[in-house]
Amino acid sequence: MKLSLEQIEKLDVSQTLDLSGEVCPVPTLKTKAALNKAKEGELIKVILTSKKSAENIGAEFRDKVYAYCQHKNRFIIILKK
């Protein structure tokens, strides 16, 4: 679901991945590694500055997307293990 930046910042996340400036394949590789490390139910915050990368992550981890928001050129996606 789409949340506001404030709501997203309140979420209790176990990992934060700052992937600003990263382009495929790096975001997918690093996000998958973080998911493998996370325990069941944990939230991971993924920060991206490329719309295409955000769309990729949104599609590739569709079943794990818990929340997302866009703030200027920052795309934040919260994934749930």
């Binding site: 382009v23 394949p25 590789l29 690093k30």
Partner: protein, 126 residues
């Protein structure tokens, strides 16, 4: 198992082959990169050449912008998932007179084409 035969010594193709292999590994698919001929020579001397000046400029600019990484980073990201092996073709190693120690340390071992193909259902040639 997916096999990627990396024949080309051109750096854009080498980078592409390992991006592909790392992604397969991340997606839990066993993958082996089989280095042959010119890829071995490029990796041994570490010279990054895409084969023509225009490509080299595009590649260099993308690296400066952080959009293309050092090859080692992509390889290590992929290997961390545990589904990726990198083998140097024994025939090519003899033709070019290289030893395993001449190649990056992430090259796992030297083996023959037969053993590589025996374990592989699908082969991608780059």
């Amino acid at each position: 198992m997916i096999g990627i035969i990396l024949h080309s010594g051109e750096w854009d193709r080498i980078y592409h082959a390992f991006s592909l292999a790392s992604m397969y590994s991340a997606l839990e698919t066993k993958v082996t990169v089989f280095l042959t001929y010119w890829s071995i020579e490029s990796l041994a001397n570490g010279k990054m050449n895409c084969g023509d000046e225009k490509k080299n400029e595009v590649f260099k600019k993308a690296m400066e912008e952080g959009k293309i990484k050092e090859l080692t980073e992509i390889v290590e990201l992929g290997k961390a998932f545990g589904n990726m092996e990198i083998i140097a073709c024994s025939g090519s190693m003899e033709i070019f007179r290289y030893e395993l120690s001449d190649l990056p340390e992430w090259v796992d071992r030297i083996a023959g084409l037969g053993e590589f193909l025996m374990n592989t259902e699908k082969v991608i040639f780059i």
